[in-house]
């Protein structure tokens, strides 16, 4: 187990290291001088040079890469070119919107997907199965930003239940925040729920064929009891993998949704930062997102190894 863990950890660090190099190079080739962007129209070259020196832009690429990495290791992500505050502060501030939104969307999608998947699987071939999976097919095909536009049209414009845009801020309290995140969360959750319910359905179907379910049935449990007591836990394994991946996808995938609803989240921040050539922000956020993905993959791998000893042994070989 220890050597499996070490092997996984090593590959995690290696992935992160290579990822930072790729991100750095990609950022290096971006046209446009950040100092010139910050100075605006003024053509004072001395001031621009001083600013470049202050930002460390006059150093060699190698030194800049090294400074960036060593800074990040101690939590110093640098100063945003446009906001003039530390990137870490900026990111933390935006996470107070993006993280709740992501969790909200994940909860919604799980609440919808798991019952749908279980019902579909246990009534395989019935009308409700066909209907639910047909709906899921349509759900997968709907681009979330279009769904968001439709939600705004229906709930904000026509019914006026929700304000169309903006974020009330945490000072307003929990429920106003929840309300302002509801439409964005639904638009993010629906396509994810559609995918998840399909995974859940096939996972339950798979599990129901297993020997231990047959044993449970032979022992006298009904199909439903066998499923609830023994099946669901096992059926959840692939679903958890997908959930893990969806978490990191949603954290960054809210870019367009956050723009539609004018939410001051991470996605919108990075999108604006790309447009404004605030490269240090882009660099840091992409790195953090890669870190999130890699960490989640690592944790899922660990969970698998914990559940399934065969994998553990293979890792040790």
């Amino acid at each position: 187990m220890i050597s499996f863990l070490l092997k996984r950890l090593f590959s995690l660090i290696l992935t992160l290291f290579v990822a930072t190099i790729i991100i750095f190079i990609l950022i290096e080739v971006v046209p446009g001088d950040p100092a010139a962007f910050m100075m605006g129209l003024s053509t004072n070259t001395d001031a621009a040079d001083a600013l470049r020196a202050e930002l460390g832009l006059n150093l060699s690429a190698w030194d800049r890469y090294f400074n960036w990495i060593s800074g990040m290791l101690v939590g110093d992500f640098g100063i945003s070119y446009t906001y003039r505050i530390p990137v870490s502060e900026l990111v933390l501030d935006r996470l107070t919107v993006s993280l709740p939104l992501t969790i909200y969307a994940l909860i919604l999608s799980t609440i919808i997907a798991i019952p749908v998947g279980v019902i579909s699987a246990s009534k395989r071939g019935s009308f409700s199965d066909t209907f639910l999976m047909g709906t899921a097919q349509i759900g997968v095909a709907i681009p979330n930003f279009w769904f968001a536009i439709l939600l705004v049209l229906l709930f904000s414009t026509t019914l006026q239940w929700f304000s169309a845009v903006g974020f009330v801020g945490w000072e307003a309290g929990f429920f106003p925040v929840l309300k302002s995140l509801t439409l964005p969360a639904i638009s993010l959750a629906l396509p994810q729920a559609a995918i998840l319910s399909r995974v859940m359905r096939s996972s339950v179907l798979e599990v129901m064929d297993e020997d231990y379910i047959r044993t449970a049935r032979a022992k006298g449990l009904t199909k439903r009891q066998a499923l609830i007591r023994h099946g669901l836990r096992n059926a959840m394994i692939p679903v958890l993998t997908i959930l893990g991946l969806q978490f990191s996808f949603l954290l960054a995938g809210g870019i367009i949704i956050e723009s539609i609803f004018s939410l001051p989240g991470l996605g919108r921040l990075v999108f604006q930062a790309i447009a404004q050539r605030d490269l240090i922000v882009v660099k840091s956020i992409v790195t953090l997102l890669v870190l999130a993905v890699v960490m989640i993959t690592f944790l899922v791998d660990l969970a698998y190894a914990w559940v399934d000893p065969r994998l553990r042994e293979r890792g040790e070989r």
């Binding site: 990609l26 097919q137 681009p143 993998t241 790309i274 994998l311």
Partner: protein, 293 residues
């Protein structure tokens, strides 16, 4: 024989097939004919609601929505087709190479390629596509590249997984004994056997690419105006949604129908081409096992 197979195919496949074919025909037709000129601005005819003459209505420049959707769908299909093509042309050989070296005793190349795969997977794809198109300039070409890059690991992993199982088979053994090289075996014996798998995956990736293209055009980084694109139409419709809701509804539905058609066709193809696959559907576990082993 194909006709018989089609008759026996599930209803969902038939629906998906006809939807997809309808789009392809509309897209091809748009090269030579559209009901109206998509570039022509006619302010007298703007905001005409759907009806006779303009069945999907007109937009704020008086352009015919149906014509724009035909051309927009053509652009989306072209971008996605090339992007998925890039993913296959680069990804499949990489996956086959990986499997071949691993099955003949080497581990290093396989490890490097698969870790590289994981690396690409670790990047948030939409964000990277936005970054790539922002850095290298917006436009269809860069959208293709941005979407294509993220298709490479999908096909590499898929073909590696399929090929690894085949390398254990007797006929591959026989081919090795007969003195065929790794590349020759991969091309002559492995590739034809994983083709079904790849076709199904390509259909699915194609539908994902359609949504990705729409997303990129929506944020203004895909196909550039005045060339119509479905994503861009949705973006422009947003501010006019209160008095001209068809501007948002029609292009959105066009995307949904196209993606739905492709997905239904992909699912149906999977059932037709390989009935065994259907039972192994929750491939999450298997995929993970492949990664760890």
């Amino acid at each position: 024989m194909i006709i018989q197979l089609f008759k026996k195919s599930p209803l969902s496949f038939k629906i998906g097939f006809f939807i997809s074919i309808a789009y392809v025909i509309a897209a091809l037709l748009s090269f030579i004919w559209t009901p109206y000129d998509v570039m022509a601005i006619n302010l007298e005819k703007r905001f005409i609601a759907p009806g006779i003459g303009h069945i999907f209505g007109t937009d704020h420049f008086g352009r015919d929505i149906l014509s724009m959707i035909m051309v927009g769908a053509r652009n989306a299909i072209a971008v996605s087709l090339v992007a998925v093509g890039i993913g296959m042309i680069i990804g499949v050989p990489l996956g086959l190479w990986s499997a071949a070296t691993r099955s003949t005793g080497g581990r290093v190349i396989d490890e490097i390629l698969m870790r590289g795969n994981d690396l690409v997977f670790a990047f948030p794809s939409l964000l990277m596509a936005i970054m790539i198109t922002a850095v290298f300039g917006p436009g269809a070409m860069n959208a293709i590249i941005a979407i294509g890059i993220f298709n490479i690991p999908v096909f590499a992993r898929m073909s590696r997984g399929g090929a690894l199982g085949l390398w254990e088979k007797e006929y591959i053994m026989a081919a090795r004994v007969a003195g065929k090289g790794k590349a020759k075996i991969s091309y002559e014996h492995i590739l034809p056997n994983i083709m079904n798998l790849l076709i199904v995956q390509a259909t699915i990736q194609f539908s994902i690419a359609i949504i990705a293209e729409a997303s990129l055009s929506y944020v203004g980084l895909g196909t550039q105006p005045p060339n119509p694109s479905l994503g861009r139409m949705l973006f422009e419709a947003q501010t006019m949604i209160f008095f001209a809701p068809w501007l948002a509804l029609v292009p959105g539905l066009a995307i949904v129908m196209l993606v739905l058609g492709l997905n239904l066709m992909g699912d149906g193809l999977r059932d037709i081409l390989d009935p065994k696959l259907r039972r192994k559907e929750p491939d999450g576990v298997e995929a993970k096992q492949n990664v760890s082993s």
